[in-house]
Amino acid sequence: MTVSLKNRKLPTQAIGAKIFHWINIISILIMLTSGLQIYNANPVFGGRAGLHIPAIFTLGGWLAGGRHWHFAAMWLFSLNLLWYGIYVLIARRWRSRFVGVNDLKALQKSHNPKRLTYAWHRIVYTSIIPILLLAVFTGIGMYKPAQFYWIVDMFGDWQALRIVHFATVPIVILFTIVHFILGRKAGGVELTESMFW
């Protein structure tokens, strides 16, 4: 076992994927914590009488501070997503690095646990991309509801838009945990580390 580990080729990642992961993890952390600070001014569920997020999870100290952090980090977060999207298209990474028909086939036919983990992992990290885009899209609707009134209309009303925007928070947290666990199962600590260093 130790011999095979030593001889195993260490996973390597494209520099683009590393940069994306670094900026994404930092900007999402700022967006989540400052977003929860804004949430506390008038909780989505229950308004002022609703449950407030404990201060330890918030960033900004007060509503204006939360907004400053949120509207600064939104550029970092969304532009990072934008260039990475362009990169994925140009470098044709979408063909080999994201979920494909072969993964779905493997889930039906394969009995190799490694292959199954690999397939599930690709499904999970591919499906977070539309969620991140949804966070940006609903965010634009809440930031500029007069100019992008059609975004608000698409979700029915203001409260529905708020709920969808907020729902991206637990989804992203849950994703991070699952992504971490599946990454470990698929390639161990070497795989996780290869994405950052």
Binding site: L63, H68, P145, A146, R162
Partner: protein
């Protein structure tokens, strides 16, 4: 009002009055501000440039129908007290860089064309309410005062001491009105009677209640608004 709308500041007096000084300081230390004022000072001018760039000053925001009005959703946020104003003695002053300063009564204001709109009122806190406002277009009042070409901003002063300032393009937007009606009825005192700002293109804290003076100027003083001076965004456009 909601605690977290205000910057967390503990005075010496509060500190001494508090029996649980250590605990409250510890709790106050959570939810870190982490240079939020610095972040705002760097990002806000850039965001404001971007906001000004995408703002369409002539374009009306689509309105709602009468059955979509949410009378219960509009929360009353006032920073001090409700000033009781005798409507018969009320005067609106329009001054500053104008050729024809105004000092007009409610009766005179109500002879101007009535504009009604059903819009979404969006609060900085995150909630929103669909409200019907009725009143005069601010651009009609401004036109009467004959502003000089140098004018770039408007200051709004209120009877309770509240103040705010706007960019002139937003002031002249066709849906920026001085309202004296809410949901088809005379404007209630707590909503800003006799006259308040109403507009779909600015956050609620820009929509001053109990407006008594409009000053048109070519520059902003260090005092830009009650909430703005504490750290909230000045442009606050929607």
């Amino acid at each position: 009002m909601n605690m977290n709308l205000y910057k967390h500041q503990i005075t010496r007096r509060q500190l001494l009055q508090s029996g649980l000084t250590g605990v409250s300081l510890l709790l106050g230390g959570c939810g870190t501000p982490l240079f939020e004022d610095l972040v705002g000072k760097i990002s806000e001018p850039l965001n404001q440039k971007f906001e000004g760039l995408i703002f369409q000053p002539e374009k009306p925001v689509p309105e709602f129908s009468v059955n979509e009005i949410e009378p219960e959703a509009l929360i009353v946020n006032s920073y001090r007290y409700n000033p009781i104003i005798d409507t018969t003695r009320y005067r609106l002053v329009v001054d500053g860089e104008v050729n024809n300063p105004l000092n007009i009564s409610m009766a005179e204001i109500q002879t101007l064309p009535l504009t009604e709109m059903i819009i979404r009122h969006v609060c900085v806190e995150g909630w929103a309410a669909i409200v019907q406002w009725g009143g005069v277009r601010l651009q009609d009042i401004i036109a009467l005062a004959q502003p000089k070409s140098s004018v770039k901003y408007a200051y709004f002063k209120s009877a309770d001491g509240y103040y705010s300032s706007w960019d002139i393009a937003s002031v002249l937007h066709p849906q920026t009105i001085l309202a004296y009606q809410k949901n088809g009825q005379t404007l209630p005192i707590e909503n800003g009677a006799p006259l308040r700002l109403a507009s779909p293109i600015k956050l609620g804290y820009k929509q001053s209640k109990w407006v008594t003076q409009i000053t048109l100027v070519s520059y902003l003083s260090p005092f830009r608004g009650y909430w703005e001076d504490q750290g909230y965004e000045w442009f606050a456009g929607l």
